[in-house]
Symmetry: C2
Subunit: 440 residues, 2 copies
């Protein structure tokens, strides 16, 4: 790519795709715009928009899955609550890397964490007739917000940018004290900003969840991927931070997609606090004839959603979790490649006048991981997205993640070769040139 | 088993499981009751309750799936609309065995047909603000009714027993003419009765669906399993009957679970009438920014539900559908084993004074397939279920399927050896003995 794509060409593609504002486009739309422009201009974009694992699946999983297929499990419906080995190994894994005690019974496989959040949002909204609203700590993964919308469930949300540390308590209480919040949802490390909540912040969330009887839906898709600490030794501190240490009202959602690069097989686990799993809810009993939250998650919601999760993939995930807990799979150093890609690409952005938008966890610099957030001076999301697109770089806008800040989310997973970084440097040079021309 | 289980022992187990009326128990509860009684009495039940494939998975599928796992697809999110090969082969399969023309684009994999029906019910209820109700032609698969209940969607239903042939039109119009019916759902061959709708009945459903703008959700889980006809030759009549010949307002739900014994891997396809797939709905556009039914099914509903279907299982299902369409896999003669089991076990029931409840497709005897329905004189569902349980036979009650008739649904899938039939004969003898003692 030698010069920027003409603005008129980009505008034309957006119009044809029925996208009036590029900063409102979904990930899939951003991807489609880039693909169309690649075709028209016969070039390749730098793809920072989508969080596809850029590392091959862990072989231990593949071998276990093939072995399972050879042992006559494909014709049998998987047990609705999951195969025992997966439940046991997920329990061991959580103990080894998060120091959290959850008995195997309370851990349930789902078709990716998406199926966990979809059904937990729904179930939480039906636990108690007075609590009908899901609270999102934003910025966040926008499909989690879409899940409530699709299901007709009320939503509240705030941008955590201005409410970190001791300000978090007041902000959460503002919502929770109304009595209508059924659950609070966030990801940690955070998608899109890679901010990590501190132990104090998690404690605040946990304490308030107990006081106001709110379920915490904690998305740990990027489990142990805050590379500022060495989480690599099982059963030894430091441990993955979790709200589980501060309340009994939690469900941890853990995905195989990123930490084991197993996204294609669509498997995750919902890990219930045992108190919550066995808790009886009269509204559930009245509606479904079953009272416990865990029984209903398995036999009502997941049963109706897909009647279980790929039988063979359950064996794969069981082997991966078990291997990691036993110290035989070093998933963390494998994932650390993402951190290196983030470090290197952030430096290039910063050299061309960009800045990290969500830059700090209180007094610490935000870590280098799967995602980060980038702004350019006080440029709006729309303008920034548009000019980057002209330079052959695609990403998603912070607007679309529930953030009130100007900027984009960059995902480093597809920056897999030196060429990508060199090309990125060149294209960000073009971006600067466009800005200079605008001022002239 | 030498004598019936004491009534008090069965009552005790039901009480402990919080089941006040055995005829209201779900499949999973019936199974749990049988398992508990097996443990207490140290014997094995005849399991007629659950439709688990009793035949091993087709090897062509297993080989394709393992090959896919070896070719680096496990780390990649599957395409949301499905891999091209699966879409193409499902399109060929439908042409070969149902003589229905659906282009590959309009065929979308789902995590079993359960995920199809769950999301189609939801989407249909959001197509048009005036149409908010799903109509079920019962008896049916009770989880399909649960799916609407969970999602807070209104339901109507009627028992087709009294409304076959020319009576069907009046009954359907009674509901559809009110203007609030978004979709009508049925299975064909029917679960639980194995009745098959005639071409005339399908024509009636299709015509009314067009007139009243209702979407037909046609569950073909038991595709080509009406063994009274020879469907085995691809691209030659006779063809699997389908409403697709009589309206453009249909979605066919097709599962791999039964016809290819692939239940464990959780994969099916939703096959949209192209007119419906590409149809623009203003209510969808307003809500989701996308207007077409098909785009929303893929990018809104399925994306939020699970972000796609097991990548490797898609290759398995593609190979199975393609192999069948090419005449290389004779799935029908494999499935015909179920028909033989039905024939043999029905004879035993009838010899002991039972009768088939849903016995005819108009003037033809109902076929021998995966399920059938059984009654005993005018005994109620509860009493029949209770006495069969005492004799070590478990099934599900017709009550629980939306039927107004007295009887049970028997599934033959687990009657896999001569011993099962001999034991069944003996136990039904005990059942008769119990009835004689009651009269004495």
């Amino acid at each position: 790519m030698e010069r920027p794509i003409a603005a008129s060409v980009v505008k034309d593609v957006l119009a044809k795709m029925d996208i009036s504002d590029i900063s409102q486009a979904t990930i899939r739309q951003c991807q489609a715009v880039a693909n169309k422009l690649e075709e028209i201009n016969n070039m390749r974009f730098i793809h920072l928009e989508i969080g596809v694992p850029g590392i091959l699946a862990c072989p231990v999983g593949l071998e276990a899955q093939k072995k399972a297929l050879d042992s006559n499990i494909a014709h049998e419906y998987p047990p609705m609550g999951g195969i025992p080995l997966l439940k046991q190994n997920a329990s061991k894994f959580l103990k080894a890397f998060a120091d959290v005690d959850i008995e195997p019974e309370c851990i349930v496989p789902t078709v990716g964490s998406m199926q966990s959040s979809m059904n937990l949002i729904l179930e939480c909204s039906q636990l108690n007739p007075e609590k009908d609203t899901i609270l999102y700590i934003n910025p966040g993964f926008s499909p989690n917000m879409l899940q409530a919308k699709i299901q007709g469930i009320k939503r509240e949300a705030f941008d955590i940018y201005e409410f970190r540390a001791e300000k978090l308590r007041g902000k959460l209480e503002e919502y929770m004290s109304k009595g209508n919040i059924a659950a609070v949802l966030y990801s940690n490390p955070n998608n899109p900003t890679w901010m990590c909540l501190t132990e104090d912040e998690l404690k605040t969330i946990g304490e308030l969840a107990t006081i106001y009887d709110v379920v915490v839906l904690e998305d740990l898709a990027y489990f142990c991927m805050d590379f500022r600490q060495d989480f690599s030794k099982p059963y030894e501190p430091p441990f993955q931070p979790s709200v589980a240490r501060y309340t009994d009202n939690y469900v941890i959602m853990m995905s195989s997609s990123k930490i084991f690069s197993y996204a294609g097989e669509r498997i995750g686990v919902a890990c219930f606090s045992p108190k919550l799993y066995y808790r009886e809810y009269p509204a559930l009993r009245e509606k479904y004839g079953l009272g416990r939250m865990g029984d209903n998650f398995v036999l009502t919601y997941l049963y109706a959603a897909s009647t279980g999760v790929s039988h063979s993939a359950q064996y794969a995930y069981a082997a991966l979790l078990g291997g990691a807990a036993d110290g035989k799979i070093d998933f963390i150093s494998e994932m650390a490649k993402y951190g290196q890609r983030a470090f290197r690409s952030k430096e290039i952005f910063e050299r061309h006048g960009f800045h990290i938008v969500y830059d700090k966890d209180l007094d610490r610099k935000v870590g280098d991981g799967f995602f980060y957030t980038i702004g350019y001076k006080n440029m709006s999301c729309s303008e920034l997205m548009f000019d980057l697109t002209r330079c052959g770089i695609t990403a998603i806008s912070l607007n679309s993640t529930g953030s009130a800040q100007n900027g984009i989310r960059a995902c480093v997973s597809r920056l897999s070769s030196d060429k990508h970084f060199e090309e990125m440097d060149k294209r960000l040079g073009m971006f600067e040139q466009i800005q200079k021309e605008k001022q002239a």
